[in-house]
């Protein structure tokens, strides 16, 4: 499925005492994608991410970034990764510019590069007006946005965000997701979350972590297509029109079942691609106005609940 793997994880296992958190976990993240790493609280998302960043040591298995192995305690792969932990902690006595200078210097960037990256990123994350305020006065949303800026300062090829939206209010969450949509143009993103609507908004591939391994894994549209049921949803101009058409529709050879309520009809067919057109043709013969037509998409939530349950 994956063309070019930027991040590849193979057979990763990790336990804390008797608790096995990761159990032979393997997956790949394709270059240029936004990978949604989904799982319950405590399912091992943060553990996986910390191993990728080199903050934790795995018992077995390997992590490669652009083909370079990640080794615990070494920082060779760190210049390729930007990391935003779930609750990023800063030095409150610094302002944003000073903080970005510190991490830029640690990442061995030149002063000129640090300066240009700082002004560009502060504008990207919308902190340019608060750049000279001490970080201790920042709200959670501002800290997350600064977290994105510090993670991108050294132009990494992979951005790892650990539940970046879970502590934010709706406005902050929407802002942050918008930011991730901008960021995806520059870098591959690995986003861990348990908020499925966030994944549907920004991710193109997902992995659902359950019991230490992936219970569901692939491109979001392919997964949805694979789990799609052959159901068409049609919205008519009125409830009366819908009611009038229900019976004749059931008479068509390829229609299995008709349901719905109000002005909506849900039609189960044999093959949604082939029969959809026939349904529409039939409706236009009946001289009825169709307000909306769509194929019932399985929601990520239903996919998730299927594999978790």
């Amino acid at each position: 499925m994956i063309k070019m793997a930027l991040l590849s994880i193979e057979g990763l296992s990790k336990s804390f005492g008797a608790l096995q958190v990761l159990n032979n976990l393997s997956f790949e993240v394709e270059q240029g994608s936004v990978f949604g790493f989904i799982g319950k609280n405590g399912s091992g998302k943060t553990t996986t991410m910390k191993i990728i960043v080199g903050l934790l040591k795995a018992q077995s298995g390997s992590v490669h970034i652009s083909g370079v192995p990640v080794k615990y305690g070494e920082t060779k792969t760190n210049h390729m990764i930007g990391y935003l932990p779930d609750v990023p902690e800063y030095y409150g006595f610094f302002n944003a510019i000073e903080y970005l200078r510190l991490v830029g210097q640690i990442a061995n960037m030149s002063p000129a590069k640090i300066k240009s990256q700082t002004s560009e990123l502060l504008e990207l994350v919308g902190l340019q007006d608060s750049a000279k305020r001490k970080i201790r006065g920042y709200s959670r949303g501002m800290k997350q946005r600064l977290g994105i800026a510090q993670a991108l300062i050294h132009e990494p090829t992979l951005l790892i965000c650990d539940e970046p939206t879970s502590a934010l209010d709706p406005q902050g969450r929407s802002d942050l997701l918008g930011l991730l949509e901008l960021v995806r143009q520059r870098t591959t993103v690995l986003l861990s979350t348990h908020i499925l609507t966030d994944v549907e908004r920004v991710c193109d591939a997902v992995g659902v972590l359950d019991g230490g391994k992936l219970a569901l894994y692939g491109k979001l549209d392919e997964l949805k297509a694979a789990h799609r049921r052959d159901t068409i949803v049609i919205e008519m101009e009125s409830a009366a029109a819908a009611q009038r058409l229900a019976q004749p529709l059931l008479g068509l050879p390829f229609v299995q079942q008709v349901g719905g309520g109000g002005n909506t009809l849900t039609i189960d067919v044999h093959n949604v691609t082939a029969n959809g057109r026939d349904v529409l043709a039939f409706l236009s013969e009946q001289d009825s106005t169709v307000r909306a037509y769509h194929v019932l998409e399985p929601s990520l939530e239903s996919l998730y609940l299927d594999v978790i349950a």
Binding site: V53, G54, L55, L56, K57, G73, T75, N78, H79, I81, Y83, P85, V87, P88, E89, Y90, Y91, F93, F94, E98, R101, L102, V103, Q105, I106, A107, N108, G147, Q150, I153, H154
Partner: protein
Amino acid sequence: MNGFLPFLKKEITQTLRTYKLLILVLVLVSFAVMSPALARFTPEILQLSGIEGMIALPAPVALDSWIQFYSTTSQMGILALMLIYGGILSGEKSKGTLVLPLTHGLSRSAALLAKYLVSVGGWTVSLALAALVNHLYTLYLFPGEEVAFVLGGLASFWLCGVFLLSLVPLSSVLVKGSFGGLALPGGVLFTLLVLMIFPDLFSFNPLLLASSPLQVMAGVDEWTILLPALITSAVTSAVAVAAAMVLFRRSSL
């Protein structure tokens, strides 16, 4: 040792902006302001309180102001030093502020060494300023008197502080929590105080450095009598910091 210099700069900024250095300087300098005055005016104070004559007091000399200074600083001063710099690594470990710099490639040894050096620097600056104030005030209150070995006594006392500070990083790595950095220095301090009663070990005890500057200054003892304690302290300090670096690299954050 990647990131040592930027992180050292950050530590210096931190000790200044969070007023740690300022507080330590104020505490030690306040002892330096009180000590000569207390030494010089104790007879007058006793006279005012009406117990003059009950105890025979010799006329105060310049050395008394240093006796006063060292006895206060070796207790309250060391306590202040440990409270101010005891959490220098534990605080970052428990708050999680080290995570981001580490992911940018900061070496753990560099972080630990920068912190240790800044705590030693804070101790050095505060003690030097306090000693200078004490010295000038003593000159003013006891004109014409000379005190020998001021620097020698001060240096040995300084090393005692450095010895305790060098236990902080190791303690922070071994003991979790915001005050983890104080566990080992506290335990070692207690043990050494108990060991002071054993004459055989006495000369090796680092605490000798804090209790004997006066003797050195007064010329009672030769400077060399401190040599075993000086060597013990210096070697232990180096070993403790090196061990902390090795263990910190292996510990998970």
